[in-house]
């Protein structure tokens, strides 16, 4: 456990450093460190603090939020294929953001778009949470998430279908593909409190995830308060995912891939999985974002596109290899 954590933490730090080093302006390590310590030239500090560091940190935060949410939802729903998207949280957050773009509200202020995304995520969370209180069936819960997801996607398609001009359409597409380009520390500081609150809720309820590996009925017999556990995971994952979507748009599959890769090193315990999944999720997105920037394409690849290109085949592979239950 400790070794896994240490390895992933060091890996994430190195990836962040690498990400800050790379860019159109070449920055040797001494100038980079000087800029990080506010001892460099004004230009260097601008590049590091205004452009590269926020971008690298955004990728790390989004990956961590999605990785931890995925691990927690997989534990709750007892399904290695669950991810933040399955509850419809990502899709509803994306829908709300598209909505403010479509009607031009997004120009009213820089916080309108993120606020809308978080509001959408929380609304979806609330709907699923109410369903969780009513039903005892996990399958029902998943199906409600799938329905919510499809409904959001349908409304989104409708908005794009009726988009008044190519510019707003391009805006929406751009944002839906998912990217951490052009993020500022202001954007990060708005998303961070939601992510931290979500992560804390998930961490506080993690022991119940272990109990759930025996099934709902046995877990209740062990002394788990099933409703409270479900609410905690749904609200925690909803907050973290909503904040992630507000920061980077829709980025899929990190929440599936990260937990899957670390699970064998943690004896498959859903509780011990949370923090390593967050670290690996952050690492994956930082690396993917580096890849996006160094690949020589005419128009820049979007981070969400790369994440899906890598993640979808892994998803199919995991699905085809399930043995238990």
């Amino acid at each position: 456990m400790t070794r896994v954590l240490a390895t992933l933490a060091v890996g994430l730090l190195l990836a962040l450093l690498l990400s800050v080093t790379l860019g159109s302006v070449s920055l040797p390590i001494d100038r980079l460190l000087a800029a990080l310590a506010f001892q460099g030239s004004e230009g260097d500090e601008l590049v590091v603090w205004q452009i590269r560091l926020p971008r690298a940190l955004a990728a790390a935060m989004v990956g961590a939020a999605l990785g931890m949410s995925g691990a927690a939802l997989q534990g709750l729903l007892r399904n290695p294929l669950a991810e933040p998207g399955i509850l419809g949280v990502s899709a509803t957050a994306a829908l709300f953001a598209t909505f403010v773009l479509y009607f031009g509200f997004a120009t009213a202020g820089p916080l309108v778009l993120p606020l809308a995304a978080v509001a959408g995520a929380l609304l979806a969370t609330l709907v699923v949470a109410l369903a969780a209180i009513r039903t005892r069936s996990v399958v029902t819960l998943i199906l409600i998430g799938v329905g919510l997801s499809s409904f959001s996607a349908a409304i989104m398609a409708l908005l794009m279908n009726l988009a008044p001009n190519p510019f707003s359409l391009a805006d929406m597409v751009n944002w839906m593909l998912g990217t951490v380009d052009n993020r500022s520390f202001a954007d990060l500081s708005f998303a961070a409190p939601f992510m931290i609150a979500g992560a804390l809720i998930l961490l506080m309820s993690r022991r119940g995830l272990s109990a759930l590996s025996l099934g709902d009925e046995a877990a209740e017999g062990l002394g788990l308060d099933l409703r409270r556990q479900r609410l905690a995971v749904i609200i925690g994952a909803g907050l973290a995912t909503g904040a992630a979507v507000s920061l980077a748009g829709a980025i899929g599959f990190v929440g599936i891939v990260a937990p899957h890769l670390v699970r064998p090193f943690l004896r498959y315990d859903p509780a011990q999985l949370l923090v390593p999944s967050a670290l690996l999720g952050g690492l994956i997105l930082v690396l993917a974002d580096i890849g996006v920037r160094i690949l020589p394409t005419d128009s820049e690849l979007k981070l969400g596109v790369v994440a899906s290109l890598l993640g979808a085949p892994i998803f199919i592979w995991i699905a085809s290899r399930r043995r238990l239950a």
Partner: protein, 257 residues
């Protein structure tokens, strides 16, 4: 001492009564077998009695306390429950699955206290799973897995163990070993309530039989007093001879009545 007292339990789903007017008590020092044909309401009765499913009416006291006043953790420290369906999703090692039995004592996997570890070791030994500690769940046979789940329930070391068909998947040797283990636990002053379909095992080891039929408890008493050919016919629809050999009963089931 009364470990579990259930009175006037009723539960119906969409007009179909699963459990009707059921009441029973489980005292310390007894092994009680809950028997009845498929669909007679045995599992529903256990769930109601443990408060896992809220009943329509009824009153349950666990260790003398009304079950509504017990938190899930407090209840779990008094009763260990082994459900009939035991779905596992992750290929966890056996000792981790058993260690989950210590949940109500605050145990977290990877950070077990010495008491938790000792209880896990005792439960693994009681279910004869030594050597299996690090085997992954998906490499075990159905019977081995059933013993792992039983060990998980026993690891809580509660005064009362409620088990739903614990021996159904076991080979004859382990069936007898498990029932003997339950009988030993009862002799040590604990209580065991188990659902079982093997009537031979039930009459051989249980101190008491709870007979269920159509959601009702139709008889409640020691095997010698309640296990009669007439009752076997009316409850299970089987024709059987019942012989007495010394203090023990022997069943000879001839077939459907």
């Amino acid at each position: 001492m009364m470990l579990l007292e259930a009175r006037d339990l009723n539960h119906a789903i969409e007009g179909k009564a699963l459990v009707s007017d059921a009441g029973f008590t489980i005292g310390s020092g007894t092994l009680t077998a809950l028997i009845g044909p498929n669909g007679s309401g045995k599992t529903s009765l256990l769930r109601l009695a443990l408060g896992i499913v809220p009943g329509d009416t009824g009153e349950v006291r666990i260790g003398g306390m009304p079950s509504g006043e017990l938190s899930p953790i407090e209840r779990a420290r008094r009763v260990a429950y082994l459900p009939q369906t035991r779905p596992l999703v992750w290929p966890q090692p056996v000792e981790d699955i058993v260690a989950l039995g210590r949940f109500a004592y605050g145990a977290a996997l990877g950070r077990l206290s010495p008491e938790d570890k000792a209880a896990v070791t005792r439960a693994i030994a009681a279910c004869q799973l030594e050597g299996f500690e690090n085997r992954a769940a998906d490499t075990l046979s159905g019977g081995e897995l059933a013993r792992v789940h039983l060990a998980r329930a026993l690891a809580a070391e509660t005064a009362l163990v409620v088990a739903d068909e614990p021996v159904a998947a076991l080979d004859p040797r382990h069936q007898h070993q498990t029932m003997r283990l339950f009988a030993d636990m009862a002799r040590d002053g604990r209580g065991v309530l188990t659902v079982i379909h093997d009537l031979d095992l039930a009459v051989r080891y249980a101190d008491r039989l709870l007979w269920m039929h159509d959601g009702r408890i139709v008889a409640d008493g020691p095997p010698e007093a309640t296990c009669t050919p007439d009752r076997l016919r009316s409850v299970f629809g089987i024709a059987a001879h019942v012989r007495r050999e010394g203090r023990a009963l022997r069943l000879d089931i001839q077939g459907p009545a």
